[in-house]
């Protein structure tokens, strides 16, 4: 321990400037990787636009986060590779490394940079959430922000193991298939009749848990005519995996004609349904005795 300098791979001529080398490696790899990630992985994360206002907001958010994460992941991974290459013990050697216990500057820099990064990401996320782009998430009976303008309410009633859809402004008709008009703001009111389910239509950017006795509101404004999947996203019993259906976004006219047909066809059923309400709870009954 009498030497005053650690002997590094540069030999007696002094160590190579690891910091400069590594930072160069990291910056170069980030500059190369970031566009590649955006161009090739970006589209795989989902269509940025074209399905609904909410989807585009959410997918853009994912892309932003993945983009921000890329240089951070590269930082650590290139560092691990660099360490594997240059900070090795030669075979048979028992030399020790330099007794460095810390570096106040580096630590402070790390704390400040990571904190700022995290706070900005959180700020961005809050902005997205409270804008129209983020209201596809179930926000309970009193959402903080809701889109202005006319909304078509669609009640999603979840039960074991089926979703039904009730249109209160169309006579309270309850159907087993979901059809939505394109370009209109839809207000989903999600509730359950028994256990917790979750109405998940990822292609239009909606996920809202269905709880018994609760009205969980989520919004979506589909911008494209398409077929999309609806899955239950909360384990609800043995046929949870089977609890899915296909749904459609169609043109205004097609929607009007469809709903009119449903109203006529299901008129006898609608007559015996309970009146539309925000949630439906069976009468309290004593389960014991």
């Amino acid at each position: 321990m009498s030497s005053s300098q650690a002997v590094g791979p540069g030999g007696l001529g002094g160590e190579p400037n690891h910091l400069r080398r590594f930072l160069t490696l990291w910056i170069v790899s980030s500059i190369i990787a970031l566009p590649l990630v955006i161009i090739f992985i970006g589209p795989l994360l989902g269509p940025a636009s074209g399905n609904s206002v909410e989807t585009s907001g959410e997918i853009t958010d994912i892309k932003v986060l993945v983009g921000v994460a890329t240089p951070i992941i590269l930082l650590v991974m290139t560092y691990l590779l660099y360490a594997l290459m240059y900070f090795r013990q030669e075979k048979g050697s028992t030399l020790e490394g330099p007794a460095i216990r810390g570096n106040a500057k580096v630590q402070m820099l790390w704390i400040v940079i990571t904190s700022c990064l995290v706070l900005s990401v959180a700020g961005y996320g809050t902005v997205v959430l409270e804008s129209e782009n983020g209201d596809g998430s179930g926000s309970g009976p009193n959402p903080l922000t809701s889109p202005s303008g006319p909304k078509i309410p669609v009640q999603v009633i979840a039960q074991q193991w089926l979703f039904t859809y009730r249109y209160p402004t169309y006579g309270g008709v309850e159907t087993t298939s979901l059809v939505l008009p394109v370009g209109k703001e839809i207000e989903f009111q999600v509730t359950s009749l028994d256990v917790i389910h979750s109405f998940w239509a990822f292609q239009i950017g909606v996920k809202a848990d269905a709880n018994p006795g609760i009205d969980n509101i989520a919004y979506s404004k589909p911008t494209r005519e398409m077929t999309f999947e609806v899955h239950c996203a909360e384990l609800c019993g043995i046929w949870h995996g089977a609890m899915h259906n296909e749904a459609r976004v169609v043109s205004d006219a097609a929607f009007e004609s469809w709903i009119a047909k449903q109203q006529t066809m299901l008129a006898p059923a609608t007559k015996v349904l309970p009146t539309y309400s925000k949630s439906y709870i069976p009468e309290p009954s004593r389960r014991a005795e």
């Binding site: 900070f87 013990q89 998430s137 917790i196 809202a208």
Partner: protein
């Protein structure tokens, strides 16, 4: 100390035990425990039936007697513990007899099969017990992946599938909470702090046997119809479920009690039994991680116990905590469960942090970089973990005002987690790294936890969570952090410390095969799950969209390879421990930490003399001249 050591053995009982075998079997041991456990089970069942057939007619009608099963389990556990001898001390104290620290410990291998107050024996017991239940959980995982080869239910029906999913998750989560603290902290914390024992040796043994009883109870769920809720046990599905749900409830209640006692014991030991000179700033980082974990265990686990007791009451005597019809709320369960559940996952992660930061200085021959930063990272994670739980409830319909706060708190918790990474990287800086098997596992930890942690930040954003909650993206996230993080560091600890615990070396070639196969197959299994989540596959399903079959097949095959890598590890264990039996040196890694300064095998009272500590255990490295610019003074 040596003066009192000299008066230790009593000549009278030093004679060998010459009684016949059948005579030796009578007493407080595992056999008695099993007998009394079974007896207690039937007693509880009988009492339960007497209670309910008179009051709860519907139970008679449906043959779903939760009261009876819960009582049966409770009495069974009590009988089991009494049989092992755990009631002896409380009864003695009740009668006013003086306290004694240690049970009269028998000789030989039978110590490992009963109540033994030697922390080293408890550590080895934990290692084997945890291994056993991990194996059960892993077999379940293999069956789940076999089922997911097809997009419709083919091998097992939906109820069995959900039980597989539930037992896999519950077993792994419950067992791994004590997965590192049980074997390694129990064995090595007293050695690292220069103590002869844990603060409460009998309680230590109790935590182990509670965990074993719990694991057995969870496995018995298959006899009662399994449970359909997954490891989170959400109400009201929980309330609706058949009797097998009670196994889950009892399992977690016992695990919760075990956790509280384990954490309490660790904290009391670390606070009171440190050797002279071992100030808090000289404590090994693994001990700090244990401390941070123990804080969470003591505070979060009681919440779980209370939550599940309410569940049990809802199920058995029809209270209305979680059932909407009687004024209860499903949200109550979610809030209470996740108030425990989030600290729980940090209980899983923190020991992993402790292990890697403890091991890498040894293998790069440098001190731990940023010791204080690492401690503040761990304690910061510990504290903050109580403030993030509602990020599990973002789309559930909670008060929308709360969501930005929980997004912020969840994002902020990544800052102290990041401290661990900078300390990891700083320790590697200009080090002289030897690529031993434990070192490889530590490097893999960094790789995996990075991906896992970053995906957690992606999930914490409320808008992205709308896309990804309840999907396979979440599965990928937590498997990367828990398996990629904790389990990899768990194996690092095994390859590093087990030679000390059992005195035998592992075969290095098999170990390297294990590592590489595990690392590659692990990433191959779980990386595609991110994609599956983005493509809309929900969790806990055995039916999925047909276009996802290809990716699921790839994942399943990788999972089978991952399982095979575990078999290589088991082969290494069998080969090294039973056939090769090459003795391990006292300090094969040339570590300066206190636990390596004692001989192998570790003597029964740990130290000849309690050492006096004058520095932390990271005294590696050639000093760097202050003028050379790179070093900060020691202790920074």
């Amino acid at each position: 100390m040596s003066a009192t050591d000299a008066q230790a053995p009593l000549a009278a009982s030093a004679a060998p035990d010459l009684r016949p075998v059948w005579r030796k079997l009578i007493g407080f041991n595992l056999l008695t425990a099993v007998i009394l456990g079974v007896g207690g089970y039937y007693l509880g069942w009988f009492i339960g039936h007497q209670i309910s057939t008179s009051s709860f007619a519907y139970e008679k009608a449906t043959d779903e007697n939760d009261v009876a099963l819960l009582l049966a389990y409770a009495f069974g556990v009590i009988g089991f513990l009494v049989g092992l001898g755990f009631a002896n001390y409380p009864v003695e104290r009740l009668l006013g007899r003086p306290a004694s620290l240690r049970e009269k410990e028998s000789h030989g291998i039978s110590r490992y099969f009963g109540l033994c107050t030697d922390h080293k024996v408890v550590g080895v017991q934990y290692l084997v017990g945890i291994g056993l239940f991990l194996f059960v959980g892993a077999v379940n995982a293999m069956m789940i992946r076999a089922e997911l080869l097809h997009d419709t239910p083919t091998i097992v029906g939906p109820n069995q599938y959900l039980t597989l999913v539930g037992v896999h998750g519950t077993m792994m989560m419950g067992i791994m909470t004590s997965g590192v603290l049980g074997p390694f902290a129990n064995y090595f914390v007293p050695l690292m702090i220069g103590a002869r024992r844990m603060a409460f040796p009998r309680i230590e043994a109790l935590t182990f046997w509670l965990l074993m009883a719990a694991g057995f109870i969870l496995a018995s769920t298959v006899f009662f119809g399994g449970f359909p809720t997954g490891w989170t046990g959400y109400e009201p599905l929980n309330d609706q479920a058949v009797m097998g749900m009670d196994s889950y409830i009892m399992f977690f209640a016992l695990v919760g009690i075990s956790m509280v006692l384990l954490g309490l014991n660790m904290m009391a030991t670390i606070i009171t039994l440190r050797a002279p000179g071992l100030t808090w700033s000289r404590l090994p980082i693994f001990v700090w991680a244990t401390f941070a974990t123990a804080v969470l265990m003591v505070l979060a686990a009681p919440m779980l116990i209370a939550t599940l007791l309410m569940s049990a009451l809802d199920r058995s005597i029809s209270t209305s905590f979680y059932v909407t019809g009687g004024g209860g709320s499903s949200y109550l369960f979610q809030n209470l469960f996740w108030f425990f559940g989030h600290p729980e996952v940090y209980i899983l992660a923190l020991p992993g942090f402790g292990i890697v930061l403890e091991l890498i200085p040894v293998f790069v021959r440098k001190p731990l970089w940023g010791y204080r930063l690492a401690i503040s990272g761990m304690l910061g994670v510990s504290l903050m973990s109580f403030f993030v739980w509602q990020h599990h409830l973002i789309v559930s319909g909670i008060n929308a005002d709360l969501r930005p706060f929980y997004m912020l708190s969840t994002e902020i918790i990544s800052v102290p987690t990041g401290f661990i990474f900078i300390c990891f990287m700083g320790t590697l800086w200009r080090g002289r790294m030897s690529l031993t098997v434990p070192m490889w596992f530590c490097l893999a930890w960094a790789f995996n936890f990075l991906i896992g942690g970053t995906s957690g930040v992606v999930l914490s954003d409320d808008a992205t969570d709308t896309q990804l909650h309840g999907s396979f993206f979440v599965m990928a996230h937590f498997h990367y952090t828990i398996v990629g993080g904790l389990i990899f560091s768990f194996f690092a600890a095994i390859y590093y410390w087990v030679p000390k615990m059992v005195g035998l070396q592992f075969n290095e070639k098999l170990a390297k095969w294990h590592f590489w196969l595990m690392f590659v197959s692990f990433n191959s299994t779980f990386l595609p799950l991110f994609a599956l989540g983005i493509m809309g596959m929900p969790r806990r399903v055995s039916q999925y969209e047909p276009h996802l079959v290809g990716l699921n097949t790839w994942v399943s095959i990788s999972a089978f390879v991952l399982g095979f890598s575990m078999l290589i590890f088991l082969a290494n264990v069998v080969y090294s421990m039973i056939f090769a039996r090459i003795p391990a040196e006292a300090n094969p890694w040339n570590s300066k930490s206190l636990e390596w300064q004692v001989p192998t095998p570790v003597p029964v009272n740990n130290f000849e003399q309690i050492p006096v500590i004058d520095a932390d255990p990271y005294d590696y490295g050639t000093p760097v001249a202050l003028g050379a610019g790179a070093a900060a003074p020691a202790g920074a």
